[in-house]
Symmetry: C2
Subunit: 360 residues, 2 copies
């Protein structure tokens, strides 16, 4: 059976550029910490990838710390400073929410001595949150509410929407390689020049002393190549075509199932993500039925699959339990075709009609 992969927000297929870079890196025998020629060659490859990632993220190479993914990057900031509270946006990814949840996103104005942690683009809905810094140059919490630091989870945003760390106003950013076509298990913490954090791991002193442990050389090579290719695709307008396919999908679904709710439609969203609610039809059931029919989609972030029934993110947006448990996330990539979308909509609508008939 033909499989159609529409779960790019869970993870994207490995880009050809990343594959080639990784296969080439397999021939480098050295440990980047070794001083001999083999070690220096491995180190040079890591530094080349650091420059590629920095260019894609819009920061300086020295601001990039390679990690084993966004989760580890978030963890490195769990305790940025003694006595320094971290407030987490209630729609943020579990990785941020669990690590950094010293306090929920504040309803009251914040004084100094705090960090705000938020996702730039939500993995479940694709909704883009404007960083507080960028709202008329004011924090939304009033003039006196300037938190010390802003942490942005840009995992779903980099390579899909224009973003540069340097003009984001953020002090930290976290991202992972596999959402932009690199390998799973590698990511980065971006730390603004001049900001000092304690290392999570010590020992060998790699990554300028900020993250010890022998580098994932092959994975880092893939991350760098994927980041470079993703930035090029974005500049070339590849995601404009994807946004049109996403709109075509939503039009087809809306026409056939006119009480479907499209989460975040009309506001700023990622170009590739559609999250829609068919009230009463459980998202998990939809995922299983579509999987059997050959389509890979999701009922929430992959990391929370099988763990929660009602989406915390949708609950936080004001949806009730039934609606929040009835959402499907379809996330497209640059390889997605019109045929993929039309077949998906046709199959989903047929199953939806059966659900309606049973429920009636």
């Amino acid at each position: 059976m033909t499989r159609t992969y529409l779960d790019y927000n869970a993870t994207a297929p490995l880009r050809d550029e990343a594959r080639a870079a990784m296969v080439a890196a397999m021939d480098l025998v050295g440990n980047p910490s070794s001083v001999h020629a083999e070690g220096r060659a491995a180190k040079a490859l890591v530094e080349n990838a650091r420059a590629q990632v920095a260019a894609a993220v819009g920061c300086a190479p020295s601001e990039v710390i390679f990690t084993s993914g966004a989760t580890e990057a978030a963890q490195m900031l769990a305790h940025p400073r003694p006595g320094h509270d971290v407030f987490v946006q209630d729609t943020a990814h579990d990785a941020l929410f669990s690590h950094l949840k010293l306090s929920d996103w504040p309803e009251r104005p914040l004084g100094p001595g705090h960090t705000l942690a938020m996702g730039l683009a939500n993995s479940e809905t694709g909704v883009i949150t404007q960083p507080p810094e960028q709202i008329d140059g004011q924090w939304p919490y009033g003039d006196t509410a300037r938190a010390d630091w802003l942490l942005l989870d840009v995992t779903q945003a980099v390579g899909r929407i224009p973003f540069a760390f340097s003009w984001s106003g953020a002090d930290f950013a976290i991202l992972s390689a596999h959402k932009l076509g690199g390998p799973k298990g590698v990511g980065a913490l971006i730390v603004r020049q001049g900001v000092d954090i304690d290392p999570l791991t010590t020992g060998g002193g790699q990554e300028m002393g900020r993250r010890s442990g022998t580098e994932n050389v092959i994975g880092i090579a893939g991350f760098g190549a994927a980041a470079e290719a993703a930035a090029r695709d974005l500049a070339d307008g590849a995601w404009d075509r994807v946004a049109k396919l996403r709109d075509m999908l939503e039009d087809a679904i809306a026409t056939g199932a006119n009480n479907t709710i499209f989460v975040g439609k009309g506001g700023p969203r990622l170009p590739n993500t559609s999250c829609f609610v068919a009230p009463g039809w459980k998202g998990e059931t939809q995922v299983m039925q579509m999987d059997l029919a050959g389509f890979a989609v999701s009922a929430g972030s992959a990391c929370s699959s099988g763990k929660v029934r009602a989406s915390r993110v949708l609950r936080a947006m004001g949806f009730d339990d039934i609606a929040a448990a009835s959402a499907l996330r379809v996330s497209l990539g640059t390889a997605t075709t019109e045929d993929d979308i039309l077949r998906f909509a046709e199959t989903w609508l047929a199953k939806y009609m059966k659900f309606r008939a049973r429920a009636a």
Copy 2:
């Protein structure tokens, strides 16, 4: 110029089996946390690798937690239990020493409520330390000195000497893939069934809730294949041949430079490691001269390259500052040939004679 790589303790070349497994894994698009077919296929690959690593380490698959390397694995045990002290052997690797150094290796007997952390085989010298449990079934600190837990760093030992976690008496073990021919940036923490530790990272709840973050699927596939191949090589006696080459190297060096000290010679050592001291000739200088002549060797663990001049490990063994700064580590692999060894010895001896002539 022909390059001869004799720095296997820093990192080993990627095994063909690991390369093939990694390239195959590149075709799996799914996130192991996703419930659809693509996700389940990625999950199955991770579980297959877990069984391969478990077989090589001699433990149950459920005792294997994949990490980004031995350093992260050590870090996960930095605070195994509130109020629980960790004592670290003074010759242990920096990763253990820095993370776990709540107290130095004790000279006094230990009461319960403590963890002993030690390296099974030293990366700089190859010297094998017998775990306390195995000395006549007694801890060396007396009958009342039973620590609660024993942590073994088996990074340099697995695949080179017979070892099984199940009979080691250890409660925890840490290792990395790249020392046994897998990729850099992946490793494991082995936790004895029934022992409970707090996760270092939370969020997605991967690795049975013990280590969150999307899995390094490609790297884990390489780790599994390399572990399986390493265990097979060990069973086939591949390292007996390596030990003969190591002895041949030491004989050649001793014949030409008869005041050289071979660290740990005569006691239990890894089959592939020779650490020798040419008093007064700095190890760093030796490394650079041999590098220029085409040989990759080391003056200590790769992770401490360029950071310390006198080896902490050799100091702990009783060598004075000058001797501890004059050590060279030559570490062989199963691909090392007699020709490699003889050319190395000839080149090293020629340079040593020049050093002696200048020093005289």
